[in-house]
Symmetry: C2
């Protein structure tokens, strides 16, 4: 690993100037400080020794996720991370990272310049400018719901979708449901894809028929229901599993608009257990991602990575919360049968066949 | 959670008798102590409060894995676990668990009776008597290379087979190999199945043809080579990837016996990087599972679980070690073409088709 002297030699300045730059002393120019930081990053100096002696600072970076009030998705994640980190005397900072922020700051330079030993990244997508830099970062970094290949400094955390969907489908089967529709989030999101595969896999595991018109991608918003629920109802679905609680709130509204009573006529299940879930009418049965625990998990995985344990994918177990939106199945006669054109956005037939085959092996 | 008083009430004895039983005092009978422990487990008393105050003890249970000398697979795992745990003042005990031991002792009772706060399990298979008890254990437990559904107290660790196989196949492709055979370990082992899927998936990802006669399950022993290598050679494979280093050692011997030079005529890659890998002739290029890191990972995941973070699956990143058993591909004319009967134990055609389709989605 590079030393302060290497940085000084490369820049042709004194060791004390480099030290001032790294420690943010006031008596060197902002421009020289930036040069010191960028050279340090270029040479692979990560300042971890400094961090151990003087500072214990971690950062949570957040983009595209609300976290400031208790009803928002990110709030409890930040809380859980802080709770676990404070126990071991870490200071935790929270930094929103807009697209512009990411374009103006380099990730490793920012980490070094601020004396952070590691970070948790919330809400990033593969299109975010920093994602490219995270592929080669030398700082221990944990990503929620995203995955980076081969960089031993980057770990991924998320909730085990397969176990969550398994719990939901077992619950519905115990209530006599067989025709179970799935309205997922956006196609191409890592989480949506995992949940779709989990749905197909678990339906097949229980030898329930999967109708491609009943397994569709929408978007992670309530409005998606309007486009897909009428088809589900026409085709005789007795239960609708949703990619998250927001989608479920839209599904409840749409079912009511169509004259269906919940749960008497149709059962509905969400995913996440956001605060909104228990305030819906009826209160929503849902797969719970414990967000406080997810935040703690972020800290513990980061803690291991700061001790040079290269964790890659790490999953948290979900739990299942039964409220009032599910009940014994009331079989209905389908108004019409499957039609290839029914679903504007149905799952890929190959993916579907693949999972039908899966359980026969 | 049950208290000492609950146990005393249930047994009709005094609180101090229960306390003596839990703490292993000499002045109560062995029979009464066993009754106290079993009742405590039955009521869900886990003694964690006691553990926090007076004792910090963890246990590594080992079955069917050698660990006593530095050349054996389990040695470094135990070492890594101890290194990470000692830093935080845990005492670590190692307990071999034969089939007989498991039949005579109940897992939770043993944990409670010995004051252990959590454990790492090495080498167990789904057939082990304790596996059934681990499904419902209330003690934080980490399993290597096995998975238990739905119990929030049980976490799983392993090495990311997909990333390991990806590194190996990319290395072979960079050397011009296309006809890459895979001799896996035993069918039905979780690790073998993950490696087979990773092989199929990565071959498809690079659009390399997968011949079912070149992708076979053997056993995790050197002798497996004798049955499969002649077919691989006849069919024109220029490289053989192996399910572990022991298999690779057999493959090297068999290739030599058939008059092939390594790496000039054929490239060979192992998995694990056991101490044997660098002593083979030629020294083996292999996918490295860092076993010290795996042991540390076991501790850190257990540490999170003892803080009530319910981790499920956790993967460690492998690395890739290039030695002398791989070189630029030397294309050969296949002596004969595929024949369905060539392979006595070829992969399931459905699994194979499934993964060919996978990348087209």
């Amino acid at each position: 690993m590079a030393t302060i002297k290497d940085i000084a030699d490369k820049l042709g300045v004194s060791v004390s100037t480099v030290s001032k730059g790294l420690n943010g002393a006031k008596d060197i120019s902002a421009q020289l400080r930036q040069q010191v930081l960028e050279t340090a990053v270029e040479l692979g100096y990560t300042g971890r020794k400094t961090a151990k002696k003087n500072l214990k600072k971690l950062c949570i970076f957040i983009e595209n996720m609300d976290y400031e009030s208790a009803s928002q998705f990110g709030y409890d994640i930040v809380l859980g991370f802080r709770q676990a980190a404070y126990k071991e005397q870490w200071e935790v900072f929270v930094q929103p990272i807009s697209h512009e922020f990411q374009v103006n700051e380099k990730y490793d330079t920012y980490m070094l310049g601020n004396g952070f030993s590691g970070s948790l990244m919330l809400g990033l997508s593969l299109e975010d400018p920093w994602m490219e830099q995270i592929k080669t970062t030398t700082f221990p970094t944990v990503l929620l719901d995203n995955f980076i290949e081969k960089n031993p400094n980057v770990g991924c955390i998320g909730t085990d979708s397969d176990e969550g969907i398994a719990l939901a489908i077992e619950h519905l089967i115990s209530l006599g449901h067989e025709k179970i529709a799935f309205l997922d989030g956006s196609r191409g999101s890592m989480v949506s894809d995992q949940r779709m595969i989990a749905y197909l896999d678990n339906m097949s595991k229980h030898r329930l028929p999967v109708d491609p018109n009943l397994a569709v991608y929408g978007y992670f918003v309530a409005d998606a229901a309007h486009y897909h629920v009428p088809t589900f109802l026409d085709l005789g679905a007795t239960a609708i599993l949703c990619g998250n609680d927001l989608i479920a709130s839209g599904v409840i509204e749409e079912c009511k608009r169509q004259g269906f009573k919940i749960p008497e006529d149709i059962s509905i299940i969400g995913f996440d257990d956001l605060p909104i879930a228990q305030r819906l009418d009826p209160p929503l049965t849902t797969i719970r991602q414990d967000r406080v625990e997810l935040g703690k998990c972020g800290y513990y995985i980061l803690f291991a990575m700061m001790a040079h344990v290269s964790l890659s994918k790490n999953l948290l177990r979900p739990s299942f919360v039964v409220r009032s939106s599910t009940a014994i199945a009331k079989p209905r006669i389908a108004k019409r049968h499957c039609n290839e054109k029914d679903s504007v956005n149905k799952i890929n037939t190959q993916l579907y066949n693949q999972f039908l085959q899966h359980r026969q092996i």
